[in-house]
């Protein structure tokens, strides 16, 4: 009797989650599998590595460029987020902290495409940044140069993603026991030592999660490289769009998607390894 009861409960449970599972399977897993399959299917329907070879041949540089840009941006995000979050939680005057707390979130509410557009006018040769630098006498007009290349992409991605990581990190830092910080100060640690020795090790997990999620997000951004630097070398999202829009070449696009997916999987692996490492001592 009891066994029947348990089976019935299991069935009810399964029935309850099946619509959600169905949606996930139909709209997420299936298209992804299709993309993988189509990346290896030849014109006659057989298995081929032709598309993958072509993708690697044509876009090898862009792949490396993508890895370099996203890794560089991730590092930039980490540095900025740590600086802002630690300033928010550890020090500075109350007034500047309030101002910073209010300011730093804005990019969260600005879409990537708008970010790209804003950066275009800001970083161009005759853009606002150079005007300010020339006006301030920091550079002479002759040496003003456009930053609308790889540097522009990095600046735009960092600008857009820093608030997200800062938001997570500042929350985690605020929850570090203030006596932990005082104990270190009391034993002779300066502010930056408190940050490096006491606070960061305790929020490492949160920082890593924020960075991995940003890394994956940045891999999928199309609008920013489109707006700032669509010419090679550029991010592979631009190449994927180009293969499809200009050539109708879904096969190579799928191969590029798969490569992009592998990069993201690298990030996910890092994320999972941390999550597992964290779960083991608790168990």
């Amino acid at each position: 009797m009891r066994g029947n009861e348990a089976t019935r409960q299991q069935r009810t449970g399964l029935a309850l989650v099946s619509p959600a599972l169905g949606v996930v399977a139909l709209f997420f897993i299936l298209p992804m599998l299709m993309s993988v399959v189509l990346a290896f299917r030849g014109k006659n329907g057989g298995l081929t590595f032709e598309h993958m070879a072509k993708a690697l041949d044509l876009y090898q540089n862009d792949l490396l460029f993508t890895v370099a840009i996203t890794v560089l941006s991730t590092v930039g995000i980490a540095i900025c987020a740590i600086l802002i979050a630690s300033y928010l939680t550890l020090g500075g005057s109350e007034r500047t902290r309030t101002a910073l707390r209010w300011l730093y979130r804005w990019p969260l509410f600005i879409p990537f495409i708008v970010t790209g557009q804003v950066m275009r006018t800001f970083l161009a040769k005759n853009g606002l940044l150079n005007h300010v630098l020339i006006g301030g006498g920091l550079i002479d007009p002759g040496s003003a140069q456009s930053l609308l290349d790889w540097r522009g992409i990095v600046i735009a991605l960092v600008w857009k993603q820093v608030p997200f990581v800062t938001l997570l990190l500042a929350g985690a830092m605020a929850s570090v026991d203030s006596q932990h910080i005082e104990a270190a100060r009391n034993l002779g640690a300066r502010r930056w030592q408190v940050l490096v020795d006491i606070v960061l090790p305790q929020v490492r997990g949160t920082l890593l999660v924020g960075l991995v999620l940003s890394f994956v997000t940045m891999l999928s951004v199309l609008s920013v490289p489109m707006m700032i630097n669509p010419n090679s070398p550029t991010l592979i999202t631009v190449d994927i769009a180009y293969r499809i829009n200009t050539h109708g070449d879904y096969a190579v696009a799928n191969a590029l998607c798969l490569l992009s997916l592998l990069l993201a999987a690298g990030g996910a692996a890092l994320y999972l390894r941390h999550a597992v490492a964290k779960a083991v001592p608790a168990a």
Binding site: A183, R185, N186, G188, D197
Partner: protein
Amino acid sequence: MQTSPFLRIESLTAAYGATRVLDRVDLDVRRGELVALLGSSGCGKTTLLRSIAGFVTPESGRIHIGERDITALAPEHRGTAMMFQSYALWPHMSVAQNIGYGLRMRGWKKEAIAGRVGEMLTLLQLEGYGPRPVTQLSGGQRQRVALGRALAVSPEVLLLDEPMSNLDYKVRVELRHELRALQQRIGITAVYVTHDREEALALADRIAVLNAGRVEQYGTPEELFHQPASAFVAGFMGADNAIDVVPAANGGWQAANGASGGGSMRAYFRSEAAQLLGQSPAGPGALVLSGTVAQMLYVGHGYRYRIRLPASEVWVHAPERIDQGTPASVAVPQEALLLFPLHEQRAA
């Protein structure tokens, strides 16, 4: 022990926003002395300790250690080490890393740090615990590690913020003796914040009782216990009975019973100091109160009785059992009475 003050606090005033927490506090601590700051929560004792450590910026007043004025110094330059109520051990570090952190900050070499950490582990009977994560320690062990971390840097003044409050009673009493023995052995100057009278009496060379941001009385445990300077201190030191009295014809005192007049005072006494009168007569000059037993509590080493008097009630300790409702007379020897003027408010 030197007689000249080592840690000197002069007219220290501190506030959180509009709330004044410390009001012109003066305190002298001699070298090698353990001074307890005793008071109920919100009296300012922790703020005073944190001012010495440098975590609270006072509005006015000075703090000196030896010849140095440390009032405006950053916490790391004061030569004080604090032990926190929550211990504040860093969970991502081992026992040895926790204890050695202050030395690392002072630029010690690795071998020197390891040597000093070893000394600390021996001193605190934690040999072999060095590589363990602090998260695997018991409450008592954590407390020792926190103490070791503070002592490792050889501070001039050790500051302890209710270090026993998170421990079981039994562990607390044990560690109390250990802490006192250790403090005397290494001869360190220490300031110890507590709200536990028993702990302060057992540990301290001198006790400062704080009330509403002021030092109500500062003296040896015996002085505070037997000669409280105010009704507040008397109450805090366990004289929990208060009764209004007027001078009696025999030169002693008698209950005022609502009457007020010239010479009336408020008398405080401990329930252990009073006697329940059976056959034996009261001593000469004793305050005698008559009433009935209103409540009886067994407390292990005898009974505690609430005696209802015409105008008030008192608590009395007695070894024998007496039923509720029995008429009873209470005698308090004259020397056990702590007398204060009526207008003084008792708050404990």
